[in-house]
């Protein structure tokens, strides 16, 4: 009986431990994340512009490694940096919002600079938006 109780307690502890671990599961580490797709900003934007539904199926939630020329850099009040890459469209681009859970070595980008980011594709509004980006 005592033994049974002991085993029960142990199981409960393990289950609780797993539950706690699951609940506190960390966000994906973007620096170590393997890219599912590698392409340039122009291609990515054109894919969304041509057929959004198809592009959503292809790229949504994927870790995308995207290269291009910096069009614009902006920093919000909380210090989060976003880099817009040239897409071939005059108005819109590919926005890479830099990950706020990663320590970045470099955040001072200049327009015209060639860069490669890795981030999670969240879809297209007017621009294609990648979040949790890290410089590659």
């Amino acid at each position: 009986m005592k033994k049974l109780l002991g085993i029960g307690l142990l199981l409960a502890l393990i289950a609780g431990g797993i539950g706690y671990f699951m609940y506190n599961k960390p966000h994906q580490n973007m620096e170590n994340a393997k890219a599912d797709v590698v392409l340039d900003a122009r291609e990515l934007f054109t894919a969304f512009e041509a057929n959004e539904t198809e592009a959503n199926q292809k790229y949504l939630d994927k870790v995308v490694k995207v290269s291009g020329l910096v069009k614009e850099v902006s920093t919000d009040e909380e210090g989060n940096v976003s880099v817009t890459l040239e897409s071939g469209s005059e108005m819109f681009g590919v926005i890479c919002q830099m990950d706020n859970l990663t320590q970045h070595d470099k955040t001072d980008f200049k327009p015209g600079e060639q860069v490669t980011f890795k981030g999670i594709c969240t879809g297209m509004l007017m621009d294609v938006v990648l979040v949790r980006c890290v410089l590659v």
Partner: protein, 204 residues
């Protein structure tokens, strides 16, 4: 002689249509002019946050990549946000939010389309705080509902910030919450939005 008269009457007719054309042209220019001066404002860095305050836990998520467009002439506005760009503190919550509740693969965006009802009381050129009323249709999870909410325009040093805070009922948007987590997720979720608007210049 007869030919001459007919030509002059033709000319008169011609003159008249020319005058009409000129009037039309002037009116058109004025109309076009006013519609051009009605500026459009926009941002692609709007902030949308939501807060679920349930007995067991508080959940919040933030998104700082919303787009907003405001037509200062008509008061029409549009707000759009990507569901997957919402970031949570806990990865698991973010996963459940996307996969189970919002089905963001199927419905990647949330959209508000409506108008500022009393934009005539707002002077975007003059510093101040202007309370407004916004009305329109909100689409979340593929379901559209009419909403009306108070909002605020703050103009300071030429910068325009539009903000609003309102609550939505999760059930109104056909979002199913399993009984097991009923105490973890609020039935009413507060949504805060804030957008710094910039003048939309052609070609920029």
């Amino acid at each position: 002689m007869l030919i001459l008269i007919s030509i002059s009457s033709d000319l008169k007719k011609h003159n008249l249509t020319m005058q009409k054309k000129a009037v039309f042209f002037i009116v058109a220019t004025i109309l076009l002019g006013t519609s051009l001066s009605a500026q459009k404002y926009f941002t692609r860095e709007g902030k949308v946050s939501f807060y679920s305050d349930a007995p067991v836990e508080k959940i919040e998520a933030h998104n700082s990549k919303a787009t907003a467009v405001l037509d200062a002439g008509s008061g029409n506005m549009e707000f759009a946000v990507l569901i997957k760009a919402f970031q949570f503190e806990k990865a698991l919550m973010q996963e459940h939010f996307n996969e189970n509740y919002m089905e963001s693969d199927k419905f990647p965006k949330a959209l508000f389309k409506g108008e500022v009802l009393n934009l005539d009381k707002v002077n975007l050129e003059k510093d101040g705080e202007y309370p407004v009323k916004v009305k329109g249709s909100l689409t979340i999870h593929g379901v559209t509902n009419e909403i009306e909410s108070p909002g605020k325009f703050i103009v300071k040093d030429g910068n325009i910030t539009a903000s609003s805070s309102f609550t939505v009922e999760v059930a109104d948007y056909d979002i199913q919450i399993p009984a097991v987590v009923r105490d973890n997720i609020a039935k009413e979720v507060r949504i805060d939005i804030e957008a710094g608007l910039q003048e939309l210049k052609k070609g920029s």
